[in-house]
Amino acid sequence: MGQTGHGASGHRLDSTWEQQDMGQIGWGGYSWEAGALPELCEKEAVQGFARTYQPAVYLLLSLLGAAGNGLVLLTHTRYRRAHSITDVCLLHLALSDLLLLLTLPFAVTVTLQGWAPGTAACKALQGLYALNFYSGFLFLTCISVDRYVAIVRVPAACRLRPRARRYGWLTAGLAWLLAALLALPQFVYGRAEQHQDLRLCRAVFPPAVSRAARGATNLAQVVLGFAVPFLVMACCYAAVARTLLAARGAQPHRALRVLLALVLVFVALQLPHSLMVLLDTAELLASWATTCAQSRRKDLALLVTGGLAYLRCCLNPLLYAFLGQRFRRELWLLASDAGCVGPRDPRCSGCPSPRRRSSLSTCQDVA
């Protein structure tokens, strides 16, 4: 070890450093941060928080989400013959949210004890996660567009109605296809690999493109995961709200409240995470100098807002399905079929579904 080949001056330097290395212990670790030799930024406290926060939040969300989305799937397949694009999208949204939430317990085990299964399972997990992440946003966007067409563009909606079911499945198929295409890199680059003392499952991009790839990745997450769905939703629901206000019908306020809840929940749950990812990207691409304390705070914020963003998958059933009277009636039917409660109203498949907004013009009015 002693052989350095530096010569006499090198040795003198060495001994100076050695003294600093020894003296540094007494200084409590601050000397390197401010001094000539930068030190590794250790994040033990944040990692410790992640080890309790992630299992608790992810498992809770998985359970809640499995229950909520499972009920939506059950009622849709049992009682509902989808007759609009929204119906079909709601069904697929529930499926996509359910699958996404089911990947979370695996993420928890990775956090706690590393990734034991092989690379193939890792590819499947990564791909499934990405697929459902993207498809969820696409379905939300489709639902807002369909509601816009149904309420604002009534003549077009009436022309579409006879074929709505077919268009619904076509839309859902296209959304899944697009999501699968977007998730393809995760399938290809997903790999189980050793990192320091843990075996992790993640998408490892080729080193040549790593910085650009991570930057592009983060930007795509913000653009496709927040900006585009938000803009489409905001435009569609604003037009719907204008129409509802102009209609002055029986319950415009209730319908407006639902719309407002949809948009607000989306913004409140998704915006913080998107902003943090954007900040992370700016730091990555601009190579901003950050201190260790700032870096710790950023990681903590990414962790917390990430958990918040998953909450959306649990709230979708509440917002999109449970708020509808039809779904509550179906839920009651399900409960009575299962023998939990006595039948409230006789089950009739021929019951006309209540018109969504009684005040609005219907196809009969137009025709």
Binding site: G10, L40, R214, L302
Partner: protein, 99 residues
């Protein structure tokens, strides 16, 4: 396979990828490096930090004999020399352990 690879790369360039990580993303990282040389005598081991590990910059992390972890550039000539020296000494150690 080559075509699939190309397709994925172009998707990457198009910015259509999501950094999927349900798992723990909090990684100990070097946030900056300096050109000040670290003397060989005080380091006992090293690892290489890459951007795809989840860090902002690539770096070489040297572990000193006192357990401090110091950040050095990835590709500076003195860093490469130091890494080679450590590789050689660890190979020697491994050999002597086998015997």
């Amino acid at each position: 396979m080559q075509h699939l690879h190309l397709l994925c790369l172009s998707l990457l360039v198009l910015g259509c990828v999501l950094n999927v990580s349900g798992g723990n993303n909090v990684v100990d990282c070097c946030l900056r490096t300096s050109e000040n040389h670290i003397p060989g005598r005080i380091v006992q081991d090293y690892w290489i930090q890459l951007v795809q590990d989840g860090c902002v910059i690539p770096a070489t992390v040297f572990i000193t004999t006192r357990g401090k972890r110091l950040c050095a550039p990835l590709q500076a000539p003195w860093v490469i020399r130091l890494r080679e020296k450590l590789d050689a000494s660890s190979a020697r150690k491994a050999k002597s352990q086998v015997i």
